[in-house]
């Protein structure tokens, strides 16, 4: 590795690289390797029984479904929030911009109990939703609500810088060539923003898939109905079914890997897209 690099006057490659790989190896790689190594002994039959049991399938279905729905909502509204923050001025914009990161900073347990209070039958928002016949806590809708909160900042934060750097001259050109505002939006702005919006979607989806803290309080944790995969892993651990927990953890881990590569690819694609546009300009 070190031999490949160009001769540089900057010192400390050996030291910093040693610390980096050593620390990562100890904290991240070693535990992961242990987990996979242990799972090699497990028979395929056991894996099948654990992953394709009715309860686990229901949990995977809910985790994927609710995460997907929440990420969709977050993509639409995240784009809207980013647009409003970049393009318009209004009182309190600075404050709103700072507030968007709250779900990153607020402990998930705090978010969980607060959302449960708000959306409960006699809560501030639940009152109206229950009035409309929408059970907003201890239901799948509750899971969906918690995951919207958790994934909210991602699309805003990926789309925002792209909109800031967007050259409005292109829009002006479109307008002066007779394009309507709507057409300029769909034909000129959307293609530019799309890669970052998709990246934000993937980030929000991946985060929602693994979320635990905010969901346990609002979901009611009913097996087959409102149980998400991380909660099922937790239940298995509490039942001392370590093998079951291990298999489910490995499945979730493999999914995380897939998402990580997908997100890296999307970011690479977005950057290349951007560079190509710059070259054309």
């Amino acid at each position: 590795m070190a031999g490949k690099r160009k001769k540089s006057v900057i010192p400390g490659f050996g030291l910093t690289m040693g610390i980096t790989t050593g620390y990562l190896g100890l904290i991240v790689l070693f535990p992961l390797a242990c987990l996979f190594f242990q799972t090699l002994d497990v028979s395929l039959d056991t894996v099948q029984k654990t992953v394709f049991s009715g309860r686990a399938l229901a949990a995977f279905g809910l985790s994927f479904g609710a995460s997907f729905a929440a990420a969709c909502v977050n993509t639409v509204f995240g784009f809207l929030v980013a647009w409003v923050l970049v393009r318009y001025t209004f009182p309190g914009r600075f404050l709103v911009d700072a507030m968007v990161d709250l779900p990153f900073a607020l402990p998930t347990a705090v978010a969980g109990i607060s959302l449960t209070f708000l959306y409960a039958q006699n809560g501030w928002l639940g009152k109206f939703l229950y009035g409309l016949g929408i059970p907003s806590v201890y239901s799948r809708i509750g899971v969906f609500i918690a995951l919207i909160f958790i994934g909210l900042p991602f699309v805003v934060r990926t789309v925002q810088p792209v909109l800031v750097n967007f050259d409005t001259q292109v829009e002006e050109a479109a307008a002066s060539l007779g394009a309507s505002r709507f057409k300029a939006f769909t034909r000129v702005i959307m293609p530019e923003v799309l890669p970052s919006a998709i990246t934000g979607f993937a980030l929000a989806f991946a985060r929602a898939l693994g979320e635990y803290g905010s969901v346990v309080f609002i979901s009611g944790n009913m097996p087959h109905r409102t149980e998400i995969v991380p909660l099922l892993i937790m239940t298995r651990l509490e039942e001392y079914d370590y093998l079951g927990a291990q298999i489910l953890a490995v499945v979730m881990l493999v999914l995380s890997f897939c998402f990580l590569f997908l997100i890296n690819f999307l970011q690479y694609w977005g950057q290349r897209h951007h560079r190509m546009q710059e070259c054309v300009a």
Binding site: Y23, V28, L32, L80, P103, V110, Q169, E172, L260, I263
Partner: protein, 295 residues
């Protein structure tokens, strides 16, 4: 809006009409109020709903104080280690060219994408009684899982990427010029780092540390798995919130939650502060460069 005659630069050609603008702002703000502001307000409303004495009693309760101490212990163990790692990793990745750089960055990002519950489970499967190292550990009477070392360990795992992730873009953007100049003028490597690099990256580093602290204090899922919920022993603040809530002691649960919420609001404030500072630093640099060019 089809302004063929409009000159380029006319703001009307790239702006929506006032009613549309108002509608978009209103919708965005409504969404944020429902999903961000109200949860925040609800925490403080519930914390102080039953009066100040109840609040005071909840946060001065011995169990709460113990949870606060344990939480800070985990923070003080995890954050300095991850801070040192983050600086080293950012230095290695941004200052040198080598193969496998992207793989290394992906590996650093990994703890962010892994579900907290899965992170905790991994450590149980290694250090737990039935785990890989379990028999050896119990033979030597070392307790990691369902004890404080386990909590510290998962906190380190979960907060590992933050400092590195904040520093990487900053250091990559700044390049090697300043350091190379210092080194060719005869400064030692350490001196270059302390006098040149550190001042350049200080706001990124600052925000990375702030984020790590916030996340370390608030981590719930991973800590919940390895803590074992032993009262008076392995309860951190978020776990304490959960226990109080499940005991229907809502006022106390929200009182402790309000402390954590206060920390996260501080985090957001400090983030903005660091952003403003970085922007000013960059602008000063730019001004300095243009001045030099004009001379």
């Amino acid at each position: 809006m089809s302004g063929i005659s409009q000159t380029p630069g006319n703001s009307r050609s790239v702006n929506e009409s006032l009613p549309v603008r108002m509608l978009l702002i209103f919708t965005a703000l409504l969404f944020l109020v429902l999903f961000l502001i109200l949860p925040l307000v609800a925490v403080f409303y519930n914390a102080f709903h039953e009066g100040l004495p109840v609040y005071k009693q909840a946060i001065t309760d011995p169990a709460t104080i113990h949870a606060v101490i344990l939480t800070f212990l985990a923070v003080f163990c995890a954050v300095p280690l991850n801070c040192a790692f983050g600086v080293a990793a950012a230095w290695a990745i941004s200052k040198f060219r080598f193969r496998g750089k992207n793989a290394l960055i992906t590996l650093i990002d990994l703890p962010l994408t892994v579900s907290p519950v899965v992170s905790g489970t991994i450590f149980i499967l290694i250090f737990g009684a039935h785990g890989l190292l379990g028999p050896w550990l119990s033979a030597h009477n070392i307790k990691i899982i369902f004890a404080i070392p386990g909590i510290v360990l998962v906190t380190i795992f979960v907060t590992l990427p933050f400092v590195a992730r904040e520093l990487l873009p900053v250091m990559t953007a700044q390049g090697n010029f300043d350091e190379e100049a210092a080194l060719t003028l005869g400064a030692s490597g350490w001196k270059t780092f302390l006098r040149i690099t550190l001042p350049n990256i200080r706001w990124g580093l600052f925000y990375g540390v702030v984020l790590s602290v916030a996340r370390a204090m608030g981590e719930f899922g991973a800590v919940s798995v390895v803590s074992g919920h032993i009262r008076g022993k392995t309860i951190t603040m978020p776990l304490h919130v959960e226990i109080l809530y499940n005991e229907y002691n809502f006022a106390a649960a929200f009182a402790v939650a309000s402390l954590l919420t206060f920390v996260s609001i501080m985090t957001l404030g400090l983030k903005k502060y660091a952003e403003v500072k970085t922007a000013r630093q960059n602008k000063e640099l730019e001004d300095f460069m243009t001045e030099k060019r004009m001379l």
